[in-house]
Assembly symmetry: C2
Homo-oligomer: 499 residues x 2
């Protein structure tokens, strides 16, 4: 086998693994959007079978032989080297974790999820605590099997954000926290805050959908390569030529579905934006969850909650929902940018959102490092809510039990939400420097300059550069919290009359 044949054989297996991942994604999409309720047990077996086979192919001898041969002296061009590096990374991690541990985690996941659903419904952390303890033990074992340089947390976090470390997160998040806690107090307690309110009314679901679809078309989403459906928890899945968005509708409030779809649509533009020449390989896949989130948060917030955007879009809203015509640009812009001391992460505004994430990062670090016991977690949660946001949950359901992640064994993932905000601000600042008249274009509903810039600088590059290097390459400096903080202060102080 010569080197070109070897690489082709490697690509065949790589594409098979990717096809199995996508098959599982669509089976899961179907489960969340339209599967008949009685289909759940059979679907679980379909998913575990497909995922088990993916794992077997990823850790199998055939891929191993190709990777070894390709690593030994075969000269690869840049794109091929990216694919080999990334498949090696995936395989190394998969090989580190013994099958028995994978099965045990999977079993405890199911049971912990059931326990979490009941516990949240009863607002009873005690009923979930033993499962959280067991899951933490297993994830600590996983981290030890995978290995790490500085701390266990890194072994888990790295799966979602390659190259990122707790050390880096601590620095970034301390800066954020120190500045955001007083900013929240300043804004949420300002005299202007009490006057702001949302726009409620009769927003028929089919017209909400048509309005959001139209906006997504305008920003560049390709509906021949995507669709939108309803699910309890909004998400985006798929890749390149088939990207599925989901949302949920509130008949009295269009903002939930609208900003939800701008968010998922941002994820979708990233997925549709990879280089199709590399379809089915890491070269045409998302480099990290943080970068993915930077795209969704950018379109949702930096674009979607900006004044230029609504100079363009508000007349369309008035047309689609005539009763909103009495709401002018100032009022609408204020309504969609209310800052509130909130309990629930997924409903939080741009200013408080990062604090919700930092709280979770600090707690899950301490849990994984055994510096906080499961029994003490609810009190620690409530203490930190008090000091970060000045409010204390009335019960566990609106406090420590609100997120599904830990029940699912997902530790090290939360930080990527805040990283997404930081990346987004830093990218957006660079875009504005690179693109003359970007805001003016947005005011006219012309998103092509921004999308073109994102395509060139971020989307088409796939996994070529890891996040830290990508940020440096695109913006000329390392990731830092300044752009996010400057953006938040400028936007919200101006909005709240304190700028």
């Amino acid at each position: 086998m010569n080197s070109s044949e070897r690489y082709d054989a490697f690509l065949d297996i790589t594409r098979q693994i990717h096809a199995l991942e996508l098959a599982a994604e669509f089976l899961s999409w179907d489960q969340q959007t339209g599967m008949p309720p009685k289909g759940a047990p059979a679907r679980a077996l379909q998913l575990s079978t497909v995922e088990g086979i993916r794992h077997a192919v990823l850790t199998g001898d055939e891929l191993g032989e190709h990777l070894e041969a390709l690593g030994n002296g075969v000269s690869l061009d840049g794109d091929a080297a990216v694919n080999v590096r990334e498949m090696e990374r995936l395989r190394r991690r998969a090989l580190c974790i013994p099958n028995a541990l994978v099965r045990e985690i999977s079993k405890v996941q199911s049971l912990a999820m059931e326990a979490w659903i009941r516990a949240r419904s009863d607002s009873d952390f005690g009923a979930f605590a033993p499962w959280l303890g067991e899951m933490l033990d297993l994830k600590r074992q996983e981290a030890d099997e995978v290995g790490y340089d500085e701390c266990r947390y890194d072994a888990l976090h790295d799966e979602y954000e390659p190259g990122s470390t707790a050390r880096r997160l601590k620095v970034l998040f301390r800066t954020l926290r120190d500045e955001l806690v007083p900013l929240v107090a300043e804004l949420a307690d300002s005299p202007a805050a009490a006057k702001r309110k949302g726009v409620v009314g009769d927003f028929a679901v089919d017209r909400q959908k048509a309005f959001a679809v139209n906006l997504l078309t305008t920003i560049g989403f390709d509906w021949d390569a995507g669709r939108v459906d309803v699910s309890a928890h909004p998400f985006c899945s798929g890749n390149l030529h088939d990207v599925r968005l989901t949302t949920r509708y509130d008949e009295n409030d269009i903002t939930r579905a609208l900003f939800g779809l701008l968010h998922e649509g941002g994820h979708g533009l990233y997925e549709q934006g990879f280089d199709p020449a590399f379809e089915g390989t890491p070269r045409a896949r998302a480099v990290s969850l943080g970068i993915h989130e930077s795209q969704s948060r950018m379109w949702e917030n930096l674009v979607g909650r900006s004044r230029p955007f609504w100079e363009f879009a508000l007349p369309l809203l008035h047309e689609a929902f005539p009763f909103t015509s009495s709401v002018g640009l100032d009022d609408w812009y204020a309504a969609i940018n209310r800052v509130e001391r909130s309990m629930i992460r997924v409903e939080a505004d741009e200013v408080t959102y990062n604090l919700h994430i930092i709280l979770r990062f600090e707690l899950e670090m301490e849990l994984i490092e055994d510096r906080l016991s499961v029994a003490d977690l609810p009190a620690a949660w409530n203490d930190r809510m008090k000091s970060f946001l000045g409010v204390v949950p009335a019960n566990d359901a609106e406090g420590v039990l609100q997120d599904i992640h830990w029940a699912h064994g997902i530790f090290g993932y939360f930080p990527t939400y805040a990283l997404g905000n930081l990346y987004a601000s830093q990218f957006f600042h660079a875009a504005r420097n690179d693109i003359p008249g970007m805001d003016e274009a947005i005011r006219k509903g012309n998103f092509a300059p921004l999308l073109g810039w994102l395509r060139e600088k971020i989307h088409t590059r796939g996994r070529t550069l890891w996040p830290e290097d990508l940020v440096k390459d695109v913006t000329g400096e390392a990731l830092n919290a300044d752009y996010q903080l400057d953006y938040l202060k400028e936007k919200f102080r101006s909005l709240y009359g304190a700028g």
Copy 2:
């Protein structure tokens, strides 16, 4: 490993194979109901990957060792013996066909399908002929690899109808043909025929759907274990707790969607009716395509186009579509039972339908046995249309190119459509004997007695008995054409005033 552990290990693999089959079915369902158009190439790779892995597991050493051990002296109860027998049958067939031939057939399928689509659109058989020739060569090779006692055709037909042979089909179909050709002439040319016409009007799609869903609920379809969507070619897929029906709607004519959904719903009732204790094994799967079709044709025709059914359902139609109130039972019953010399199989009435099938059976037999050349096929098709149905297609598109089956390499499948009609009539006759007042129950919209009988006699038995034995067990005699012929003559002569 003791025999019970051995059987459990065998079941694990069996359920995995089933899970992969269902995963592929749902991916295909999604492709036909809602997948964005650009997703097709990626979906093709997902399907071929999942199907390739299914084939590898089915033909792998692990299943082989279990089957050998279970076949050698391990005593199995009846249900376990069914599962072992059926998995052995599947595996034997899969092992007979060399991988190179499987891949070649798959490759030619794709190309032949594309050629067929273009050829049909241009009504140009010549453009499809080389692909049909190549496909026939490959299917002859497949038949020779699989082996047969009497004729090549049996090796292909057996995949769809275990135990059935061309010899048996010839006898059944000769009787049918000899009686149906004059019956079609008698009915279609009768003075009454010219007066019959369909009911057209404004049938809003959403109300059609609601009406059909309601009828399916009444006959016993479980919507917590199923759903209905739109596709270009209606089908039913899934199994037991998740059964998907599709249809298409004509806004001026409710009968297409209505009888289409009664047909697919009949398939669906069979799928929902297996014994859930055996989920994921052959014991809870359809025994043959002919038996499957007997269930769809029974609900579509023997029930759905019967007078007792519409005594119950016509008032509901009047209520849902008030403009139909002027159509009385006699007119409606006549409208949905028009006998016409038709060109297109999928639009054919109950009397002509079997002749469309027999024509295809005779031609594909002759093609496979090399007694008819591809070049002579269109003329043979037209000659036989003339002698069977008294009409000649104006072009290849409405003649020899109308069906997708041969382009897909499917030979030996068409007969199962006519077998379905024969099974259905013979079963329905037995049901009427076994169930006192069955027609009276149907008149009142009570389908529980019939469905209960089908569940007990057919559905819950899965693959326990092959079709020939199942028919004997349920009806007390071997399959024959008399019940179908008696049913057609009695129903249609009475309708056409010649009875």
